[in-house]
């Protein structure tokens, strides 16, 4: 499936070329030892069959165990630049950042490597209109460690995008990091001098939004089909691992070869290439049921057609359609099962009451007192993630909590979940998710101006983006929407209230031909997150290992 004007497939091509360049620069047979976290992302770039054509004959994961003996000429370690991984590589013997190299030096194994090289892959295409940099720790690095590496990488990635799709003439942004990214881009462009790629600009606007501008949205529960799958099971690189027993009768159709050891889980590939999934992925979950049932009926009706087929010709036509029908049937079955699983999750536990609490907070109700619901959740030792999410949400919506309330929550959490979570609380404070109230709450203004909450939202036939949270419209998405119309000048009040500088810049184009059509968005992100993962990346549990 190709997208609109801008298709990130080109990015994938560019990535692939980089990888091939690296592989081909090393003659002879090769074994690739993967960093497990990278393997998934790379599967979008090149599969095993493709790698085989480039003399890769063995693949392993980086683990603490010894490498099995093999007779290849070269062993390539593909790893993210983390020192802990370097430790593992070290163990395994007996990429590329300086720190890592040094760590290897410390271990005295640097010498056994012929070369350590950087593979400049920044963007992974997840869909035709979505690329991710797969930097889950970006927000944490910036907020907790003031490590600007990801800002640099984002700027580099945007330069890559501009290299493929041409210079982007208009740049808008909100937030400190957005500004830094822009400044680095300007700098990088200057360094390139006149050697800019001569590509007709295909992207008209670039909107940079710093996560710290909109901390509310990741804390709210997404209620789309896609969002809920991610919420409950976690989507990684467009695949999701689900409990296997529900799929018992269907899993025989396509047993993934590498999956044999995990009989209890079933891996499902989620891609917009699947027509049914493309239709329902962004629907509010309550609208998914009716749609699935309609599809189920149409599958049934198609099969019924065989009775109507009288002549040999008609029968032949029917037979020709069978494979396609089989695929469709399989797809309906899979998604019905997934929807059932989600339905179970929703019905059980505190999902519903927590969601209700969340929506009350988002409407600005009772955010200035201790919430009995949160207290009860803590008293029953519900999942810490849920509890922290609600507390953070209440805090942000209220523009900070009163010292006494914050204290109370913190004590409650420590008492119930243990002192091990002390650092996590510290981190949340450092990241600006928990803080003591200073001044009046600004959320009411923002909510009103940006229409963050909508009362009469139609989940089945949405006309406004607020359907994704059944009533709450994501602030960052609203910012983008308002930029299109009526323009950011209309909401200066809100922009002042939100943290960080606002950015409206134009890049001078050498000579640009511009054709305007309706806005069409492509998205580049550092990582796709949900409320759970967002907080997980910020947490530090002590004594875990």
């Amino acid at each position: 499936m190709t997208g609109g004007k801008v298709d990130f497939a080109l990015i994938k091509e560019a990535t692939r070329i980089e990888l091939v360049k690296l592989l081909d620069s090393i003659p002879g047979t090769k074994a690739v030892v993967w960093d497990e976290k990278l393997a998934g992302a790379f599967s979008h770039v090149a599969d095993y069959a493709f790698l085989r054509t480039h003399d890769v004959c063995k693949m392993f994961y980086i683990t603490a165990n010894k490498l099995p003996p093999s007779n290849v000429a070269h062993i390539i370690f593909l790893a993210r630049p983390h020192t802990s991984i370097m430790d593992q590589i070290n163990q395994q013997l007996r990429m590329i950042s300086l720190l890592c190299e040094r760590r290897l030096q410390e271990h005295g194994v640097r010498g056994s490597f012929t070369t350590v090289r950087e593979l400049p892959l920044l963007l992974f295409r997840l869909d035709c209109d979505l690329v991710s940099m797969e930097l889950p720790l970006c927000f944490r690095d910036l907020q907790l460690d003031s490590d600007p590496t990801s800002v640099f990488l984002v700027a580099q990635a945007l330069m890559t995008i501009q290299g493929v799709f041409g210079l982007i003439p208009n740049i808008y942004g909100k937030g400190q990091s957005a500004k830094q990214v822009y400044e680095l881009m300007v700098r990088m462009r200057r360094e390139m001098g006149g050697n800019e790629p001569q590509v007709t600009p295909q992207i008209d606007q670039l909107i940079l939004i710093d996560r710290s501008v909109d901390l509310i949205t990741p804390l709210a529960t997404q209620l789309t089909y896609d969002g809920l799958i991610d919420q409950f099971y976690g989507i990684n690189n467009c695949t999701v691992k689900l409990p296997g027993e529900k799929f018992a009768q269907t899993s025989s159709d396509s047993p993934p070869s590498d999956d044999s050891s995990f009989m209890d889980t079933k891996t499902v590939q989620l891609s917009s290439l699947e027509i049914l999934y493309a239709e329902i992925r962004d629907c509010n979950f309550s609208a998914v049921g009716p749609r699935l049932s309609r599809h189920a009926k149409s599958v049934k009706a198609q099969y019924e057609e065989r009775h109507a087929a009288k002549t040999v010709g008609e029968l032949k036509q029917f037979v020709q359609k069978i494979p396609q029908m089989e695929v469709h049937k399989q797809s309906v079955a899979t998604h019905t099962t997934i929807a059932e699983l989600i339905q179970e999750q929703i019905a059980s536990g505190i999902f519903r009451p927590a969601l209700q609490m969340e929506q009350e907070f988002l409407k600005g109700l009772d955010t200035d007192k201790i919430s009995p619901f949160i207290e009860d959740c803590i008293a029953q030792k519900e999942s810490l993630n849920t509890v922290l999410r609600l507390i953070c949400l209440q805090c942000i919506v209220n523009s900070g909590l009163k010292p006494k309330i914050l204290e109370h929550y913190k004590r409650d959490v420590i008492h119930t979940y243990g002192f091990e979570h002390f650092l996590t609380l510290e981190n949340l404070e450092k990241a600006g998710l928990l803080y003591v109230q200073q001044g009046r709450s600004t959320y009411a203004t923002v909510r009103k101006t940006m229409q963050l909450t909508v009362d009469d939202v139609s989940e089945h036939d949405p006309t406004d983006m607020s359907y994704v949270h059944s009533g709450y419209a994501p602030l960052s998405a609203r910012l983008v929407e308002f930029l299109q119309w009526p323009g950011w000048r209309a909401i200066t009040g809100v922009l002042q209230v939100l943290p960080g500088p606002t950015l409206t810049e134009t890049q001078q184009l050498p000579s640009a031909l511009r054709q305007r059509s309706g806005p069409e968005y492509v998205i580049a992100t550092t990582k796709i997150i949900n409320g759970n993962s967002f907080l997980q990346y910020l947490s530090d549990e002590l004594g875990g290992e």
Partner: protein, 566 residues
């Protein structure tokens, strides 16, 4: 007193001097030093006589005349005089220009210099192909000469002398006379290469500076030097430090050395930071760390927040000791406290765990992080309690949270102990009730639960009682509490406990059609009687209760609708 000057031809000139004077021989003249005067006596160079001599017809003189004519105010006079004179030197303009330039070079009064230079430039404009360098050199050099001839400097150099001396020597002389600013300005003005000019002068200045006795502290002097020298390359810091050392100022020497080297390194670091490339920054940091002593290194990076946080970052992974040094240097007590807490959890020994926490609490107090301090202290207290409990109960309690500790005690029926803990740790009523209810039910202490439920001050209602009983599979116990549930939840809870008859009764009392419907939905095949009764009631109820029927208000927010499956 007179000074008699006799030429080789025997001509003599007398000068009157008003005080006892000394004569100093120069290459092309004579300096006369009186008590309050300083004169230069020189044979007027031929070129000057030719150009400025009265009635001279040398090309230079004519060019000067032409230039003067050109500058005249009245238009007519201007054109004729200039034209006439130019006409006379038509073929020797170049010579005339050179004469004017040379005359200017030997002239002492700026006024006359200007006049001659103007004439030279005027003449030069008629010869487009003429080399501009001599003119430029004359103008620049004269400016320098005038500056050093100023009475405040008192270096009455002639042009020829300067030619022999060369500029660097002149600068050195200025430096020896401690005219550092003038020397710097000259070097700047002539755009001398830094190694000859600026940096040499600054180095001399710094050496002089360290030798001067001063009120200022060594630190201050070192900083002053650093701020002046900044990033000028080619300065030998060791020289300056050696000089200080020779003067017996060891401390200053060290400080200078540190700051000087920093100057260079700062530039590198700043460049790396500007690029935004973290790898590059790490490269510079790594290099600096090897080059500088630990203290110097830390001092340097503290001026660069990004570099510092990157360094801290790498320390977190590689070098905890260094991290502690940084936090100590920055007086970051809170950060040190957090580090101690991390340590506490990296050790397996109970005593050192406890000791680390005590240290952390102390640091938090220093940092005025009251809440952190309080929580840490509570944890220390909890550890102590747990140790005591482990002894008395012979069960592991360590590493349990307060919640889990109380829960465990309740499961074991140690209600007295839990009461102590509740008081000691000020567990809020609400949480304590929840704990009791859940734990009693889990341990099947039904009697205990019943006793507890009789407590008047129930902050959580009876819903948790029902839920807890049901969760542990005791419907009978659950039913005991169902009727006590708050009105708005009563129907739901009665249905949960399977008390459908009672639910119908309550619904009837509440005159709520929706409640009745709820019960009806809950009816199974075994409740056929009840079902039909409800249906009758619903019919009657609707007829009777029109307007009086109060439905429970819809929950705020649009919550998931029930799904209908095929």
């Amino acid at each position: 007193m007179t000074l008699e000057v006799v030429s080789v031809n025997g001509d003599a000139t007398s000068y009157y001097l008003d005080s006892t004077s000394h004569l100093v021989q120069e290459a092309d003249g004579l300096r006369v030093l009186g008590s309050i005067t300083h004169d230069v006596l020189q044979k007027v160079p031929l070129v000057v006589t030719e150009t400025l001599g009265i009635g001279s017809m040398a090309p230079g003189a004519l060019l000067l005349e032409a230039a003067k004519g050109f500058q005249c105010l009245s238009n007519q006079e201007r054109s004729t005089r200039a034209n006439d004179c130019l006409g006379m030197i038509k073929d020797s303009v170049e010579e005339a220009v050179n004469q004017c330039l040379q005359a200017a070079q030997h002239e002492y009064r700026p006024q006359a210099q200007k006049m001659l230079l103007r004439a030279a430039l005027f003449g030069k404009s008629f010869i487009p192909e003429m080399n501009p360098e001599p003119c430029k050199k004359a103008i620049f050099t004269l400016r320098v000469l005038n500056a050093v001839r100023d009475y405040r400097v008192g270096l009455p150099l002639t042009w020829n002398e300067l030619e022999h001396l060369t500029l660097p020597v002149l600068l050195d002389r200025l430096v020896y006379r401690r005219y550092f600013p003038l020397a710097l300005q000259i070097a700047d003005f002539l755009k001398l290469p830094e190694s000859d000019g600026t940096s040499r002068i600054l180095a001399h200045w710094a050496c002089y500076k360290v030798l001067q006795p001063s009120q200022k502290s060594d630190e201050q002097i070192a900083k002053e030097i650093n701020s002046k020298l900044g990033y000028t390359p080619g300065i030998s810091y060791t020289d300056i430090a050696n000089r200080a050392d020779q003067a017996g100022r060891k401390q200053l020497a060290i400080k200078v050395l540190v700051l000087m080297r920093l100057g260079e390194d700062q530039t590198a670091l700043r460049r790396a930071l500007q690029s935004g490339d973290t790898d590059l920054i790490y490269t510079v940091l790594h290099h600096l760390r090897q080059k500088l002593s630990s203290g110097e290194f830390l001092m340097l990076i503290r001026n660069f927040p990004v570099a510092q946080s990157l360094h801290i970052r790498s320390c977190q992974e590689l070098d905890m000791e260094q991290l502690r040094d940084i936090l100590v240097q920055e007086d970051d007590f809170h950060g040190q406290g957090l580090l101690r807490i991390k340590e506490a959890y990296n050790t397996y020994r109970t005593d050192s765990h406890q000791a680390s926490l005590v240290g952390a609490a102390e640091l938090f107090r220093k940092a005025k992080s009251e809440s952190a301090c309080q929580m840490t202290e509570e944890q220390i207290k909890l550890n102590k309690w747990q140790m005591r409990l482990e002894e008395s109960q012979q069960k592991p309690y360590a590493k349990k949270s307060l919640h889990d500790t109380v829960h465990q005690l309740l499961l074991d029926g140690q209600i007295k102990e839990t009461e102590k803990l509740r008081v000691e740790f000020k567990i809020p009523e609400r949480r304590y009730w929840w704990l009791r209810v859940v734990a009693h039910a889990q341990a099947n202490h039904w009697e205990e639960l019943a006793n507890f439920s009789k407590n008047k001050k129930n902050p959580i209602g009876f819903e948790p009682f029902v839920d807890a009983c049901l969760k542990n599979g005791n419907k009978i116990e659950a039913q005991k509490y169902a009727m006590k549930v708050r009105d708005e939840n009563k129907i739901t809870y009665l249905i949960k406990c399977g008390l459908l008859e009672e639910a119908v009764k309550v619904a009837q009392e509440q005159r709520s059609a929706s409640s009745l419907t709820k019960v009806l939905v809950a009816c199974g095949p075994q409740h056929q009687n009840l079902q039909s009764r409800i249906q009758v009631l619903l019919k009657v109820g609707l007829d009777v209760g029109e307007g009086g029927v109060t439905d429970t208000p819809a929950t705020s927010g649009q919550i998931m609708h029930a799904m209908i499956w095929v």
